[in-house]
Every structure is written in structure tokens, then in C-alpha cells.
Amino acid sequence: AQTVTQSQPEMSVQEAETVTLSCTYDTSENNYYLFWYKQPPSRQMILVIRQEAYKQQNATENRFSVNFQKAAKSFSLKISDSQLGDTAMYFCAFMGPNFGNEKLTFGTGTRLTIIP
């Protein structure tokens, strides 16, 4: 079974600074998908960024980028120029390779606070 580990329960950073959230996972699969989801106090789980394991290029979405190290099974999220609206719980998630939407396996989350 796949497992996802987020070793930073809480982090805080000053507004406009850069912050990196860590995630490691364990799988025997070669092809899979990795995600970062954001959950603000409103509870809505929002997709931040997605990475396909067979793609070597790291995914980027505006201020959000990932550092995907397949051999090390590491998938960190970097938030540049952090904003107050980035304050939320961040969850790393894994999805297996079977065609058609395998289940998501989530980590325990990192609570990120952006300080004005």
C-alpha cells in the first residue's frame, strides 16, 4: 500500500517570502500521479498543482512549483512571493497508475501561516 508522509505539521513565513513544504511517499509503482491540495478554513479542498511521474520536468503553476525527485520519492512544494491568502492546510496526495482515477492517498497535512 502506498503511504504519504508530511513531516512538517506547521510552518509560518513572512508575507512575500518563499516557503517550501516537504512530502515523501512510498510506492512500488513506476507510473503514478502526485498532487498538492490546499484546504483553507472554508474547508474546500482546492487543487494547487499536479505532477505525472513519467514527466521529468517539474510542474509549475504561477507562484507554485514542485521539486519532484522520483528516485528519492520526494515531492516538495515551493510557494514564491507568499500571500496572506496562501494561509491554509496543505496536503500532499498520491494516486496510483490504474487508468481511470484511482483513489487519492493523502498525507497528514502541513498548516501554513503567512504572517503580515
Binding site: V4, Y33, F35, Y37, S42, R43, Q44, M45, I46, L47, R50, F91, A93, M95, G100, N101, E102, K103, L104, T105, F106, G107, T108, G109
Partner: protein
């Protein structure tokens, strides 16, 4: 473009009762997955429905059951409620044959069991 919707927003039940939660998927999606998120934890996969059939199931007891309707909306039923069933229940929708395999979440239903 309507996103994933869930109802009700909050629900309070007592032990032993039964509850039904509802989910309407994002427009164009045909697959619905349900997750349970206990306080301070990441979501845990309950089951997934496609073409009105349970396609995958997580490690949850048979007290948890579901249904998918022809319009792709879905219900989650929990029988004989326990205190430990108190959680946020999230519904996620996706398109089975889409290349992205991305699941989009609804706002959740907060269930409190007293």
C-alpha cells in the same frame, strides 16, 4: 460552470442513527469519490462510484454504503452511527476517461455524532 456541491453543510445526529449525505458532481464529470476527514487528519478514501456501481472501496465497514444515480449524483449512507464517525465528509468528482485524473472536491458536510 458549476463545481461540486454537497448537502447538507452541517448535520448533527445521535449514536445509532442513520445519515444520508448528498453530492452533485462538477458538470461533465461521471465519477464520484467519497472521503472521510477526521479533525486534524488528511482525508481517507471511503469508496468510488462510476456508472452507478461501486468501483473501488477503502477500509471502511459495511455500515458505509453509497449510491450513484443516472445523473451521476451520489449519496453516502452511514448506518448505526458511532461517535468516531464524526468528521468532515468530502465528495470529489472526476471524468473517468480524462487524461488528467484530477479529482475536484466539494465543500464537504460536517457530521457531528453525539
Amino acid at each position: 460552470d458549476a463545481g461540486v456541491t454537497q448537502s447538507p453543510t452541517h448535520l448533527i445526529k445521535t449514536r445509532g442513527q442513520q445519515v444520508t449525505l448528498r453530492c452533485s458532481p462538477k458538470s461533465g464529470h461521471d465519477t464520484v469519490s467519497w472521503y472521510q476527514q477526521a479533525l486534524g487528519q488528511g482525508p481517507q478514501f471511503i469508496f468510488q462510484y462510476y456508472e452507478e456501481e461501486e468501483r473501488q472501496r477503502g477500509n471502511f465497514p459495511d455500515r458505509f454504503s453509497g449510491h450513484q444515480f443516472p445523473n451521476y449524483s451520489s449519496e453516502l449512507n452511514v448506518n448505526a452511527l458511532l461517535l468516531g464517525d464524526s468528521a468532515l465528509y468530502l465528495c470529489a468528482s472526476s471524468l473517468l476517461e480524462a487524461a488528467t485524473d484530477t479529482q475536484y472536491f466539494g465543500p464537504g458536510t460536517r457530521l457531528t455524532v453525539l
